[in-house]
Symmetry: none
Amino acid sequence: MSRAKVIPPEPRSRDADRSQQTILLAARDEFARYGLAGARVDRIAELADVNKRLIYYYFKSKDTLFLAVLEAAYADIRAAEKALHLDEIDPVEAVRQLLSFTWNYYLEHPEFMSLLNSENQHNAAHLKQSVRIQEMNSPLIQMLDMVLLRGREKKLFRNGIDPMQLYISIAAICYFYLSNNQTLSTIFGRDLRAPKAMQQRLSHMTEMVLGYVMH
Amino acid sequence: MSRAKVIPPEPRSRDADRSQQTILLAARDEFARYGLAGARVDRIAELADVNKRLIYYYFKSKDTLFLAVLEAAYADIRAAEKALHLDEIDPVEAVRQLLSFTWNYYLEHPEFMSLLNSENQHNAAHLKQSVRIQEMNSPLIQMLDMVLLRGREKKLFRNGIDPMQLYISIAAICYFYLSNNQTLSTIFGRDLRAPKAMQQRLSHMTEMVLGYVMH
Amino acid sequence: MSRAKVIPPEPRSRDADRSQQTILLAARDEFARYGLAGARVDRIAELADVNKRLIYYYFKSKDTLFLAVLEAAYADIRAAEKALHLDEIDPVEAVRQLLSFTWNYYLEHPEFMSLLNSENQHNAAHLKQSVRIQEMNSPLIQMLDMVLLRGREKKLFRNGIDPMQLYISIAAICYFYLSNNQTLSTIFGRDLRAPKAMQQRLSHMTEMVLGYVMH
Amino acid sequence: MSRAKVIPPEPRSRDADRSQQTILLAARDEFARYGLAGARVDRIAELADVNKRLIYYYFKSKDTLFLAVLEAAYADIRAAEKALHLDEIDPVEAVRQLLSFTWNYYLEHPEFMSLLNSENQHNAAHLKQSVRIQEMNSPLIQMLDMVLLRGREKKLFRNGIDPMQLYISIAAICYFYLSNNQTLSTIFGRDLRAPKAMQQRLSHMTEMVLGYVMH
DNA sequence: CATGAATGAGGTTTCATTCAT
DNA sequence: GATGAATGAAACCTCATTCAT
């Protein structure tokens, strides 16, 4: 009679970095999906296939874990931003690229928006504690400033545009459409995530931003 | 021996309505502050100064209560929107008013933004169940359509503006700035709620929207 | 066909006072037996035959519960002390009675000693928070003062005895013998709780106290 | 191929002993401060600045470690007791010295009292297992017996004093005052650790013991 | 000799909800 | 219509201990 072997659970890899990374990723997804309050440490452990205790071993508490996730998320977006070299291209094209970069980044990183929503709900309490994040300055404002300057010199752009305000507005029109997509779709009775709708949105945003900036 | 009641029975709906209303307001604040998952029924009861059991008596569950709050919030904003009569004024002024209305409404009703954030986190699950909300059509899209038409006829506005997209963008630039104010302030190292910053924001938004729309 | 009734668990009595009292007694025993840190809320619930949640409903936390137990314990001993009327009897007899009262009280209330031990281990942190306990002044010091005065007047007692010091010493010789009985018994290789040993102890203490006081 | 070790094996006991000693001291402080149940192995490791695993390597478990601490504590006090030579001095002075020795030992070794409290809470379970401790007979009882005998011969001391009872009472009045100092201070609303209070206590105890013994 | 990584069991506490009046 | 009492499930977190090197 053959007896099925009871397979002993693979002992964990004993790779500290890997474990931490796995936890971080699982936590990111969980926090993004359910918010800070709604997230469950148990679920994170399950997702990461890790003993729950290990989460507390590496990250002291749920809140500290959330902060670590936030820090990683900011590090990621800052890295992506650095790869943009708006200062080397035509001003009009630069603005266009900034917009499409923002749009695509949010599209590919919906968790970033969710995390920000959670953090704002908590009045940025975690962020305020993190020197690390506060020191990760976005290079975009400076880049954008240069772009606006060059555009004005070329008589393409209008005067007196504040780069931070423009940056925020670009973020806003992308973020809001995506983050609030479900309620908007329901209210308007249309699927605003449908490919066509997405395309229309991008066109509209491009027109709007360029229509404002250029003159 | 039967004793006649001296006091005639209050039309019972009075107190009931009042209790329900109080609960609704307390719940709104709680949900807005902590999100759906973070909100506590106990706290709502305390805030409303009613017995916790009463909440379940009137509103079946936490989720149903949340939906009721959402419905009330939408009812409120729809009512406010209806009071705008953009069709009766000059198109440029109408756009300006739409913007300032949106800005001020969010400013005065931060709970509305929070509730929407929560609801979006839950993929609009409650909203999708509510026929009531879905039937409360915003009059703004139609109004805006008219406004854009008149503006175009007067050769003031550009061609081919989708009123829904514009409406969404206007909401976006207001909403995002206010809803994400805390993280933005921290990241930029500035107090973006300071009166001056708020004023600058409004100017920027006006310029942006009009700069886009007019041509 | 007769079907055995599955007897539903008796619904709890819905008597708030009774529930609280039961919890308090169970907690007293548990804390006395295992100390604050060693006590288990689960065990208290089981002992009291009460849902664990109810403990938190009435007593906010384990620490608050401990304080409540302490308060009750002090209230009990103060009540017992008040029943002593040392001022009405012969001074020598009064001292004798104080001693035997102390001895018997500790004997019958070993939990009181345990609780005090725990509390002292925590630097009286709970006690210091309790106005209630601090206001429960022991009547014994004043009574003892009177007794000493009368004894001196009768040329029976020596001069200059501080009632508080005497009170503490009487408590000490009773308390220490009982509280540390197990280690003492082990070290001395004798059963110091045996009736005969107990009797000898009481004799010794009486001799000691009277031998000191009288002169 | 066997390679000859160049370095002669360090007398391994050196470091090992040192580590063990460090752990023991850290454990003593931790147990004294928090009791057996309240003590944390992690904290001991941190205090001793050794890896937690090492604690288990040297001392099998938390309980065994506690026993080791107890044994060391008893060894210490026995050593100190042996240094007293009550048999060589005047009986009155000998009693006086026994008292002041006890008082000072507890004063300088508060951890000893705490450890005893913990052990008594556990019904001397550890002590009972330790042959070592049980064999460490205190020399004091015998010494005291001699002292009492000589005192009686000199017509200084009263008859029929049981040395063990006297020893316990002396320990009691010192121990209780110090061990329960915090609750006593709170209850009496006085700082019983203040220098003056301490002095008064010592005077009282001396008077009491000598007042009893001499006659 | 020494250690960082990992864990199962169980600890206190919280939560939405229901019971019984 | 209103309420205090009560609860099962599950939340976060901690603890002594072992594994693998």
